[in-house]
Structures are given as structure tokens and as C-alpha cells.
């Protein structure tokens, strides 16, 4: 492993409270020093980061890599390339692959394949129940040994509340975190758009906000009964954020994330049935979007994820309701967070504080939620680093994306913030 010297960059490490022009020294795959070189350091390579931001590599709490089982939608190779091209050095992937990640062998295989590619660090979530069917618990201890960092139901809510309670009690026994996207198993099932005036007008079946809030009430009661720690995935509504705020105040061990699309878009972006805007959970009203933006700032939202879900053309070029939900996101996460940060200022200029908050939500905060030693540039930490130019503007189009998923509601948008280099454990994984 080579020694790297990244000089003259604006080093922003929210975990360490650093935002200053500082040099960064990397040795043995780890951060060796900030500021001045350690004794006897000789750089094999020096990056001139003048004008660039040097930040911890991004930690993404929800990225579907589509392996195993959906290689026609994306492969580990394409999506790992997309990750580093987007500055993402650590990612958590949900268990809804084919077969489902409910056996240690599958998890080991995925971890092994990811390691061979030697790009971003991949941390799978194991299935909470066998086949995600909501009936029988998986071997959580075995799965943890194989490399799972938590247990999730992906998009399959557990219908039987007893099973959910048992799963949470069992997870609590070993101190595992349960990752749940709150959705009622019945209300809103089969829905494809936010229940509201737009869905009524377009004649699309709706997913009401109460699908999320009813599930949250249940989860919180089960948390009180079981003491389990829960991470709530991809919250979509203002009402849900109010409930989470209250639960945190009560002292429940709960954290949550939102998908980056929901930070910017509303159901109005469906326009004339644009299937690129078909997402799960659905894009909601402007009031919900504004509440999400505010909750990122006030800390109710702990992390923002890309909700990266590659979908191929054949599954998007369909009538809206038949199109597969999901959008590519790994390569947009950074720029879309920067967009949020810039929009916090009245005149569109990004304050230092806004930049630091934005980066915290995609680096140290999600790392902490997931229990990962990542998302910081503290000396001794894994040298996962992103160098980006916050001012370079680029247009989102299929050709600009490494991901095999080319569909995003942001197609044609001009975004600011371009990754120049991504370093994973001290090796240069991407360079532009």
C-alpha cells in the first residue's frame, strides 16, 4: 500500500469538527496524519487538492447492488464502480436479492465477491425472517458472523405482529439492530403514488401517509416491549417525522434515514406519468418534502441514503403502475446533498455549517447508525477519502453514469459537485 499525500485541499471532517485547508497523509491504508507529515513520511504520490474539498468517503445506508439474482439489472462490478465514482466508499445493502440474504453462505459469497473487486466496503443487511416472508426468524448470530451488520425486511412488512415482536426480542438478545421501513402491510398495499390530489387526478392508487404512521405506532410499542434498537429506513412523511421526534425525546433507541430523492422532489414531479419518478416509498407532498428538509437540519433525520435501486429499461418503459419502482442514486448522493446544503442559504451560497451538516449526514452519522468504523478522517481510521470540486456543474444523463441503472427523476438536471478522486483503504479506486 502506497503512501499518499493530499495537499492544499479544504479538509472537511464533520466527525472531528474540522473544516480547514489542511494536508492529509495516508499510510498503510490508514489516515496517518492531518496537517504536517508524520516522522519519516515519504509520499509515493501527491495529490494537489487546491480548490477541492477533501472529505471522508461517503457511507450509504441503502444501495441495492442487485447481486445475487438480478444481474440483468446491475452487477456488483457496475455498481461498485458507480459507488466510487460517486465518492461512496462504504455501503449497506438490503437483503432483497434473489435468493434473499437469509443464509450465511450467501452473505459470505457476496462479501467475498465485493472484496475481490477491492472497491467500496460492502456491508449486507441480513433478512430478519426467512425469505423475508415474515414467518420464521433467520439465524441472526450466524449471519452476523458471516458479515451482516443488522437485520431488515426490505420492502416486505411483517403481517403478523407477534413475529415482529419475537424478531425484535431475539435481536435485542444479541444486541443487533433491526432495520425497518415502516409500512402497514395492508393500507397502501399495491399503491403507487402518494394519496393526495395528484394521485386522485391521475387515477393512480394511493399510499396514504397513515401506512407509514400506523406502522410506526406499532414499531414503537414493540420497541417499548422488547427494548430492541431500531433503525427506520427511508421515512417519507412529515407526520412520521413528528412521531420519530417524539420517540427520540422519550428515549427510545431509534434512528432514521431518508432517501435523497425525497429531500428534493414531490409527487408533482411525476408530471405526465414519468416512471422515473416511481419510487418506494412514493414521493409525497410539498409539505412532507419541506418537513424532511427541516428534519435533516434539526437532526431528527440521522442520515440520508441514496436508496440506489438500478432498474433496467424494460422495467421502466412501461405504464407508470407497471414500471418497477426505484432510481439510480450512488452517483447523485453527494451532489444532491450539496444541493440541499446550498439551498439552506438564502442566496444559494453554501455556508460552512451547511456543508459540514450535509457531509455529516452521508459520512459519520450513517456510520454511527450502522455501527461501522467509517466516515471519518481521524488519524488511524481507514483511509476512505473523497476529493470533490463543489463548484463543477454537470448534467445528469445516462452517459454520465457508471451504474447499470440509468433511471432517475433527476435526468437532465444540472447539479454542482463533482468527484475528482475516491480513495478506499488507501488505494485510489477512482480518479477523474
Amino acid at each position: 500500500m502506497t503512501n499518499l499525500h493530499i495537499k492544499n485541499g479544504r479538509l472537511v471532517d464533520p466527525a472531528g469538527g474540522i473544516d480547514a485547508v489542511q494536508d492529509l497523509f495516508i499510510a498503510g491504508g490508514k489516515v496517518a496524519a492531518i496537517g504536517s507529515a508524520p516522522q519519516g513520511f515519504t509520499a509515493a504520490r501527491t495529490f494537489d487538492a487546491t480548490g477541492l474539498v477533501v472529505a471522508p468517503g461517503l457511507v450509504d445506508l441503502s444501495a441495492r447492488l442487485r447481486e445475487p439474482g438480478y444481474e440483468y439489472k446491475a452487477t456488483l462490478e457496475s455498481e461498485m464502480q458507480a459507488a466510487v465514482q460517486g465518492g461512496v466508499t462504504t455501503l449497506v445493502c438490503p437483503p432483497d436479492t434473489e435468493p434473499v440474504l437469509d443464509e450465511p453462505g450467501l452473505v459470505e459469497m457476496l462479501k467475498h465477491r465485493a472484496r475481490l473487486l477491492n472497491q467500496a466496503h460492502v456491508h449486507p443487511l441480513g433478512a430478519l425472517t426467512v425469505g423475508l416472508k415474515g414467518k420464521a426468524l433467520t439465524e441472526m448470530a450466524e449471519l452476523t458472523e458471516a458479515g451482516c451488520i443488522g437485520f431488515a425486511q426490505a420492502e416486505e412488512p411483517i403481517e403478523d405482529t407477534t413475529v415482529l415482536l419475537r424478531a425484535m426480542q431475539y435481536a435485542k438478545t444479541f444486541g443487533y439492530t433491526v432495520w425497518l421501513r415502516p409500512q402497514d402491510p395492508h393500507i397502501g398495499r399495491g399503491g403507487i403514488a402518494h394519496s393526495g390530489p395528484l394521485a386522485s387526478r391521475l387515477g393512480l392508487s394511493g399510499v396514504p401517509v397513515m401506512s407509514e404512521t400506523i406502522a410506526l405506532h406499532t414499531i414503537f410499542e414493540l420497541m417499548r416491549a422488547s427494548g430492541a434498537r431500531v433503525h427506520l429506513c427511508r421515512i417519507s412523511s412529515a407526520a412520521a417525522l413528528d412521531l420519530i421526534r417524539a420517540a427520540k425525546k422519550e428515549g427510545l433507541p431509534v434512528t432514521c434515514d431518508v432517501g435523497v430523492h425525497h429531500l428534493h422532489m414531490t409527487d408533482a414531479d411525476i408530471g405526465f406519468f414519468d416512471s422515473n419518478a416511481r419510487l418506494t416509498p412514493p414521493l409525497r407532498s410539498q409539505r412532507d418534502r419541506d418537513a424532511i428538509r427541516a428534519a435533516v437540519l434539526d437532526g431528527t433525520v440521522d442520515a440520508v441514503c441514496s436508496d440506489h435501486t438500478p432498474v433496467d429499461d424494460d422495467e421502466k418503459l412501461l405504464p407508470f403502475a407497471e414500471a418497477s419502482p426505484g432510481a439510480t442514486g450512488l452517483e447523485l448522493l453527494l451532489a444532491l446533498m450539496l444541493k440541499w446544503a446550498a439551498e439552506q442559504g438564502k442566496d444559494g451560497t453554501m455556508s460552512d455549517k451547511a456543508l459540514s451538516t450535509a457531509l455529516a449526514k452521508i459520512t459519520c452519522d450513517p456510520a454511527r447508525m450502522a455501527g461501522l468504523a467509517a466516515g471519518t478522517l481521524a488519524p488511524g481510521a481507514s483511509a476512505d477519502v473523497v476529493l470533490f470540486d463543489p463548484d463543477v456543474r454537470w448534467t445528469v444523463n445516462a452517459a454520465a453514469l457508471a451504474s447499470q441503472g440509468k433511471h432517475t427523476p433527476f435526468l437532465g438536471y444540472e447539479l454542482a459537485g463533482q468527484v475528482k478522486a475516491t480513495i478506499v483503504a488507501g488505494h485510489v479506486a477512482f480518479e477523474r
Binding site: 390530489p197 387526478r201 392508487s205 394511493g206 405526465f272 406519468f273
Partner: protein
């Protein structure tokens, strides 16, 4: 966002929904339709406006009635009509919707009349034709999911205009399963665009979608209150599968609360007209005495429907007088 049903000059390129259509375009269609009404009374019921043009009826969802009216309208315009019942054909063999469209375009289709079970499907087709520079091919939405049924909406407007002359002093009530009805949505957009001051929706909460108020509609759950002094009553068909279950307990109870009986009709304005897009469920949403009564204009609707569809197709083909 560009509305794909209008071309760069704001003219009708496709007819997909009434929502957002300028009043002038709606009136132009209705005026054109009135010039076609008399053709059907002639001995030779044909005009050569679309001679040599090929109209493909693409019905991804079964419908005998709407398909037949489009077929008659096309034939009266002298177009060649090809009926494809796709529900039983290519897509069941795995061909995608857009592959089907490309194949038929290669056969030099001039117009697609599309019925599809999914809301928005005609937009997908229109966008694909626009994106692939096939601007000479036009799409007519013959009903998509719960979204829109614009020719039904237009023929309803033609019928109302025929009997009531002026839209700006009317109360119109739409009764029944608004939630699942593309006809209701198209009627609401047409009525509000044409300046009807009061559009009412009447039904139980289980059949009323949220957000109707934002569409400019007054909502009633009591049939008697909702019918008071209205000039036009548009009854909607209640689908069999919705008559018992979690939406409604039974057809009998529905008729008791929302069936249009002579007694209820008496609450409306004395010269109110009664409309229904068909096919009717007698004894479920409408009493036979009303359906066959003097105030019903249900059969004239069907006749006007041919003329309205002729108008739409000839305007899209750019061949209307």
C-alpha cells in the same frame, strides 16, 4: 414539463386527457362534431375525410361498446380500421407495449385508438412516438385505468350543450363510483374548463377519492341533498366486483342510498337531464323508470358519441373542414 398532447403550436397532437386542454380546443371539437351529426342521418353515411388513413384500435382491455363506436366513426370518415384485441395477443406472448407500437407503426399506422387498464399508458405511447420522431402518428385515449376517457367526456359535453345550450348557469351532479371512474375525471375537467359554476360529486366515502375539492368539485354523500336543483345528472356504472366487499356491502343497499329513482329525480330541476356512459346496471345505480323515462338522454349520448369521435379523429388527422 411539456404536455405531450399538444404540439409546439399548441394544436392537438394526441387526445389523452381533457385536463389542461384549452377551452377553445374543446369548443372546436364540439363544433366540428355538430357538423358530423347530420351525416349519420344520410343515406350514405360516409365522408371521405380520412380516406387512405389507417386507424388501429388497440384494446389492451376488453370493450365492445367503445371499440365499436370508434370503428363506426373511423368508417364514416372512410378510414381503414384494424381492430386488435391485444389482451389476447402479443403482450400475452411477452411483447412489450412499445414493441407492439413500433411494429404497428412500421405497418404505417396513422392513428392509434388505445384502451388500457393502466392509468397513463397512452402518455407512454405518445411520448414514445414523439421521442422517435413519429409525429405523423396520433394517439386517441379510449380509456386508461382510472385516469381519463376524454372522448366520453367530450360526448357528455356535446350532449349537455345540445340540451342546455349554455354551460355557465348549470349545476351538474356526477353520482356513484367516482374513485374508480375515468369518465368522472374527464367530465369534471371538461365541465370546469367550460365554465360550469357548480360540479357536484355524490357517493359514499368509500367511492370518493381524496382531493376532489381541489378539482373544483362540491362533494355530497347524501343523494337527496346532492340532487337538489341540479340541471344535469351523470350516473356512473358500478362495476360488479365492487358491489360487495370492503367498499360496499351490497348492490341492494347501494341502490337504496344512491340509486336514481323517479322520486329522487324529482328533487332535481324539473327539466334536468339524466346521462349514463353505459352499460347500465338497472336496479343497481338506476331505476328502469328513470333510464327509460322522458328525462333520460342516454341513447342520444351514444349517437352523439359517433360524431364526437369523428370530430376528434378528423381534427387529429388534420383533415377536418
Amino acid at each position: 414539463m411539456h404536455n405531450p398532447q399538444l404540439n409546439k403550436n399548441g394544436e392537438l397532437q394526441h387526445l389523452i386527457t381533457i385536463e389542461g386542454l384549452p377551452k377553445a380546443i374543446i369548443n372546436h371539437i364540439l363544433d366540428t362534431a355538430s357538423s358530423f351529426v347530420s351525416i349519420s342521418d344520410r343515406e350514405v353515411k360516409k365522408v371521405p375525410l380520412m380516406r387512405g388513413k389507417s386507424v388501429f384500435n388497440l384494446f389492451f382491455e376488453n370493450s365492445t361498446r367503445t371499440r365499436t363506436t370508434f370503428e363506426i366513426a373511423s368508417k364514416r370518415l372512410s378510414a381503414d380500421v384494424i381492430n386488435l384485441n391485444i389482451a389476447a395477443s402479443s403482450t400475452s406472448k411477452g411483447e412489450s407495449l412499445l414493441d407492439t407500437i413500433d411494429n404497428l407503426s412500421a405497418m404505417h399506422a396513422d392513428m392509434f385508438v388505445v384502451r388500457h387498464a393502466q392509468s397513463g399508458a397512452p402518455y407512454l405511447i405518445a411520448k414514445h412516438l414523439n421521442d422517435t420522431k413519429q409525429n405523423h402518428v396520433h394517439v386517441v385515449n379510449a380509456g386508461d385505468g382510472r385516469h381519463a376517457h376524454p372522448t366520453q367526456g367530450l360526448l357528455d359535453m356535446y350532449t349537455i350543450r345540445h340540451y342546455k345550450k349554455d354551460f355557465t348557469n348549470l349545476r351538474v351532479a356526477i353520482v356513484g363510483d367516482i374513485l374508480h371512474s375515468r369518465v368522472a375525471r374527464s367530465d369534471i375537467h371538461a365541465l370546469t374548463t367550460l365554465g360550469v359554476p357548480e360540479v357536484r360529486a355524490i357517493g359514499p366515502h368509500t367511492l370518493l377519492p381524496g382531493g376532489l375539492e381541489q378539482m373544483g368539485v362540491r362533494v355530497f354523500t347524501n343523494m337527496d341533498e346532492g340532487l337538489k336543483d341540479v340541471d344535469v345528472i351523470i350516473m356512473l356504472r358500478l362495476q360488479n366486483e365492487r358491489m360487495s366487499g370492503a367498499l360496499l356491502p351490497s348492490a341492494g343497499e347501494y341502490f337504496k342510498s344512491y340509486g336514481l329513482t323517479p322520486e329522487r329525480l324529482a328533487l332535481a330541476s324539473p327539466d334536468a337531464i339524466v346521462m349514463h356512459p353505459g352499460p347500465m346496471n338497472r336496479g343497481v345505480e338506476i331505476d328502469s323508470a328513470v333510464a327509460d323515462g322522458a328525462q333520460a338522454v342516454i341513447l342520444p349520448q351514444v349517437t352523439f358519441g359517433i360524431a364526437v369521435r369523428m370530430a376528434v379523429m378528423s381534427i387529429l388527422a388534420g383533415t377536418h373542414a
